[in-house]
């Protein structure tokens, strides 16, 4: 069994706020193999973006481990971290605020190389920039353009190119297509999948859109208010969703399949609240139609089928 590229062990991230301790990420355990994609799905406030940033050490973790090729990167010092940083990159959601408006496309893509790459020669950097632009479907004559001259899809390609410059092994994609038009989304998703095949990249694909994640993920993890509620291979999750929240999420998605119009759809009531100083046990209990008293004490993760994990005592 190969060592997974990325593994987290009981990863926690809490934020201190004026109102109390915000439990943004609660004891997350996950594994991502080389060349595979883990989709992290959830609604606002579930902690998926915080999780991605904590893994990349953009936020300091509260406790737990993040293992990259077996090495705990949370314990690395600055020098060791520099080596690892090149292997772990991020693509952001908003194509408008993730690119410095004052830098040209060439400047944006070459910045990682100039900051921490080993290549010093200007010609070499230039060549590498051209190579990456071609890889990401950016026409060579766009090198001197500025972000405001490009549309959302092109900007997102630039963001992707910037992440690819250091030849990483793992990329956290934080809602990379949510801000794009539907017809452009498909282009970018296809590009991501092509790159994965070519370079054996691993992705953590964060999104609220279950339809998008189905196409690109090998495994999916569903989060709710900081807790992982279910994790399974993609097909298994869609065919046999176990956790009540996953089921509600799937039921809520408006599908173009007209036959479902006639059926009674289960609509989840209530709202998401902020996990500030939360009570122990399952945080979905107050919205769950099947909740019992036991749920407030026990929401330990159980493996109900091979590779299928659910945090619910009723499953």
């Amino acid at each position: 069994m190969a060592v997974p590229l990325i593994e987290t062990v009981n990863l926690k991230k809490y934020f201190k706020t004026g109102k109390g301790m915000l439990h943004a990420v609660e004891e997350v355990n996950l594994k991502i193999e080389e060349g595979k994609t883990l989709g992290v799905v959830g609604e606002s406030g579930c902690g998926k973006s915080t999780l991605g940033r904590t893994i990349l050490r953009l936020h300091p973790a509260t406790s737990g481990q993040v293992l990259f090729n077996g090495q705990d990167i949370l314990k690395c010092n600055k020098r060791e971290m520099k080596k690892v940083k090149a292997d772990m990159q991020m693509v952001f959601q908003d194509p408008y605020s993730s690119l410095d408006p004052r830098m040209s496309v060439r400047g944006l893509i070459s910045e990682p190389l100039e900051t921490c790459g080993d290549i010093r020669d200007k010609k070499e950097i230039s060549r590498r920039v051209e190579e990456i632009m071609e890889l990401c479907g950016l026409p060579a004559n766009h090198a001197n353009l500025y972000p405001h001259e490009l549309d959302g899809g092109l900007r997102q390609r630039v963001g992707l190119a910037r992440a690819m410059t250091l030849d990483p092994k793992f990329i956290v994609c934080d809602e990379p297509v949510s801000a794009l038009d539907v017809s452009i989304q498909a282009q970018i998703l296809n590009l991501l999948m092509d790159l994965q095949e070519q370079k054996k990249l691993s992705y953590m694909f964060i999104t609220h859109d279950l339809c998008v994640v189905k196409h690109i993920s090998d495994e999916i993890m569903v989060m709710y208010m900081g807790q992982v509620v279910e994790r399974a291979k993609t097909e298994e999750l869609f065919e046999n969703p176990a956790h009540p929240y996953t089921k509600a999420l799937l039921a809520a998605i408006p599908t173009i399949d007209l036959s479902s119009r006639k059926k009674e759809r289960f609509v989840l009531s209530g709202e998401v609240s902020n996990p500030i100083d939360p009570e122990p046990g399952c945080r979905f209990a107050h919205r769950c139609p099947y909740a019992t008293d036991k749920c407030k004490k026990d929401n330990a993760v159980r493996e109900i089928a091979e590779g299928h994990f659910v945090a619910c005592n009723l499953c």
Binding site: I184, H215, A252, T255, L268
Partner: protein, 336 residues
Amino acid sequence: MSEERKNGARESDNLLEISDLHVQYNTDDAVVHALNGLSLKVKKGAKLGLVGETGAGKTTLALSVLRLLPAGVGEITEGSIIYDGDDLLKQPESFMLGLRGEKISMIFQDPMTSLNPTHTVGDQILEVLDLHFHEMPREEKNRKVDDILTLVGIPPARKNEFPHQFSGGMKQRIVIAMALVAEPELLLADEPTTALDVTIQAQILELMRDLKEKYNSAVILITHDLGVVAQFCDSVAVVYGGRVVEYGTVEQIYAREKNHPYTAGLFNCIPDLSVKAERLTPIEGRMADPRVVAQGCCFAERCKHCTEICKSRAPSAYEEDGHGILCHLFTKKEGA
């Protein structure tokens, strides 16, 4: 109220009839052609989905109906908007003031910015009644506010709270309450659920469905989400490049037997739960530049089936059984 309207209404089955509407924005450096001959018919009590991507002209259309285009910049150059027999483009502003909020209401996309943060939610709903029903006694207005809040799922006891004390989903419910309290005949909903989580979206759509049944308002739901349209609407109009390129019932369009190439393209590139495809098929190219009015078909540049005639002549509508497609591929078949 409804009785009076029925007596005064003209004969037509259509509540709203938009014909050949041309709208442009006169900005500093160029004229942006937002709508280029858009035609649309909405029956009373209908649930129409207006589908299109960014820049297609959907919001411009809604603002044009209400004559709320940005002053000095937005200009309606041609066409007519006939509402219940009256051409709205020929009416004075006083007529429009009476119409907005009472006969035609609008819900905007972002609930965060639609509500005034310095007024209580109760006051904001009351304002609608104050503006349109001067003779109504105070107690009746307050009762109406309580009723509509209960109807949208917010306890009336909370009416003295401020918008920031509510979540996104609840704010949207309040906005819906404001739009419906005067029992309008037509509701324009501009991407009402795009900014919300998917489970909250389901709640809001269900709420809108229930309320529409109760008040029998016609609803024009503006969205880019084909799934939302499938769940809520009866009829669909697909907008591209400032024109309606396809219209019909949901069944006709979603059957996917005969579609405008753009609609077909949209279906192909959407990752849907029911679709088994491994790879998505994107629509090549980009949205047409709205500063340039296309000579022929607005979709020609991106269309896989584009021919010479498509580039030079704008297509006319091919209609069968109420299902209309603006494409040369179909008009050719007619033998024209």
